[in-house]
């Protein structure tokens, strides 16, 4: 339930501006910036806040994303609340340090404006960037719209810095579809956000000369696995913290967040599970098809890492058919990344729906309400005829699939 006392200011903002707004309120000690489409406007807007003296952030302009993540890691190890943001090839270039960041257990928060990884060269939305770094030990949260991007970035700081977590968090938002679309976003008052986010008081910092320590030393056969095990447990245990913070956020600001969101799933026979802005499109189709008497529902993933496999298996096990929508491929795997996780989640339950994987929207190809309706009809058809069950294929591609 919403506590009505919190004032909300309605603003017309693009996703990138909403992200910058969250960063302004968080007021990180350090932000490393390097432009890449479609993230550029986020840091552009934030840099204006720095120039206008609205934040106390030390803005480090670097020469590449590899340096952006390196500067962020350095600042975080020094004890700063440090952030950066990127997209697609930028994330690919920083990949080396992305892994080091999580292994050093540094609570960095990074908005990722999801874009197709080149090549072929493409600047539009898909999830191949974050999916390509799904196994880097970062917590991964996806947003459906600008409001969620704003809310998720604020929560990400708390999640990352929680003493039981201490892991970096990526907050994904669909490139252009969210990042460049103007929407109404409810911004909370600065003081309220600052109170929610709180002060960052790390107990391990490089700049504490009274307690000298070494970050990033060689870690060989005798200890590497112990450190990896600690990281493994930290991200699995982060789920509990993500839920607690989602609840606390709901109490304070009115919208509670969990691992995923369900829409008309109670009595649903057929469902789509997807990530990001496509969930908004799907919701419209659910309403239309429900009005026609079809029992359809939607699950929208918010947290991809740690993957909530138990909860999701529970949420879908009574369906007749489940269409899994992936905005990324795994090239040689058993379908898209979400499909692989769902198949694995469902291997734990006896009763399970017929599933089918649709890889769609790569490189920003449109997915509209008619497409979504086609997918609902196809999964129903698959359940009835068995044709296409447990298969994966590209949706909306020319030529036979």
């Amino acid at each position: 339930m919403s506590t009505a006392t919190i004032k909300k200011i309605k603003k017309a903002l693009t996703g990138n501006e909403a992200g910058a707004e969250a960063m302004r309120q968080i007021d990180p000690d350090v932000a490393a910036v390097f432009p890449i489409t479609p993230q550029t406007e986020l840091m552009h807007a934030f840099a204006a806040f720095v120039a206008d003296g609205k934040v106390g952030t030390e803005l480090v302009t670097v020469e590449s994303e590899h340096s952006a993540m390196s500067a962020t890691v350095g600042a975080a190890a020094a004890g700063a609340r440090a952030m950066t943001a990127t997209s697609a090839n930028g994330l690919a270039l920083m990949w080396e340090i992305v892994n080091i960041c999580s292994a050093m257990r540094l609570p960095v928060v990074m908005p990722v404006i999801n874009r197709a990884i080149s090549g072929p060269l493409n600047i539009h939305c898909d999830h191949s960037d974050m999916m390509g770094s799904r196994d880097t030990g970062w917590i991964q949260i996806f947003s459906e719209n600008s409001q969620e991007e704003y809310d998720n970035i604020i929560q990400a700081v708390r999640i990352a810095e929680n003493p039981n977590v201490l892991l970096p968090v990526m907050v994904g938002s669909d490139g252009f579809i969210i990042s460049h679309a103007l929407e109404t976003v409810e911004i909370y008052e600065d003081a309220e956000v600052k109170e929610f986010v709180g002060e960052y008081t790390p107990d391990r910092t490089l700049l504490n000369t009274g307690k000298p320590m070494t970050y990033g030393p060689l870690d060989l056969q005798d200890y590497y696995m112990e450190h990896k095990m600690a990281e493994h447990n930290a991200i699995h245990n982060a789920g509990k913290v993500i839920l607690e913070i989602g609840k606390e956020f709901g109490k304070k600001f009115g919208t509670e967040y969990g691992f995923f969101d369900t829409y008309k799933m109670e009595d649903a026979e057929y469902a789509i599970i997807c990530i990001g802005s496509t969930a908004g499109t799907t919701r419209v189709v659910v309403d239309k098809m429900r009005a026609e008497g079809k029992k359809v529902g939607l699950i929208k993933i918010r947290v991809f890492r740690p993957f909530p496999f138990k909860e999701l298996a529970e949420a879908v096990k009574n369906l007749k058919g489940l269409a899994v929508l992936d905005r990324a491929d795994t090239f040689g795997g058993r379908g898209g990344p979400l499909y692989i996780e769902m198949k694995s989640a469902l291997s734990d339950v006896k009763e399970k729906p017929v599933t089918r994987n649709f890889i769609y929207g790569l490189g920003g190809r449109d997915i509209n309400t008619t497409d979504i309706e086609t997918i609902y009809n196809q999964i129903e058809e698959t359940v009835k005829t068995g044709k296409g069950a447990e298969s994966f294929s590209y949706f909306g591609v020319r030529g036979d699939v």
Binding site: A103, M104, R105, L106, L166, R204, K211, P212, M213, T214, Y215, G216, P217, D219, D222, Y223, M225, E226, H227, M229, A230, N233
Partner: protein
């Protein structure tokens, strides 16, 4: 030295004690052990100068032997010794 388990190691592979590199016995890496023939040694200390690990022990200007905790067995001393009185022997012979 007993090894710590995953829930005892400091987070993120951080080393919390300053200057503890000396506790890391790099001598463990050695597969060849230098042995000096003090009969032939002229105490010129060439080995001491060349050793990259400060593993040659010297007392009052006399080369007295090796610090095997840190000698990694590179063989530089044996190579540089003008009297050729240092021999590299398989570490296994000493186990």
């Amino acid at each position: 030295m007993s090894l710590k388990s995953w829930n005892e190691v400091p987070l993120g592979g951080v080393i919390l004690e300053a200057g503890n590199a000396k506790e890391y016995k790099t001598g463990d890496w050695r597969s060849q052990r230098p042995v000096v023939d003090k009969e032939k040694c002229i105490n010129c200390l060439t080995c001491f100068i060349f050793c990259p690990d400060s593993a040659i022990k010297v007392e009052n200007g006399i080369m007295i032997g090796y610090d095997y905790d840190f000698c990694k067995g590179c063989g530089i001393c044996a190579n540089e010794c003008p009297k050729k009185c240092i021999t590299m022997k398989p570490e296994a012979d000493f186990r």
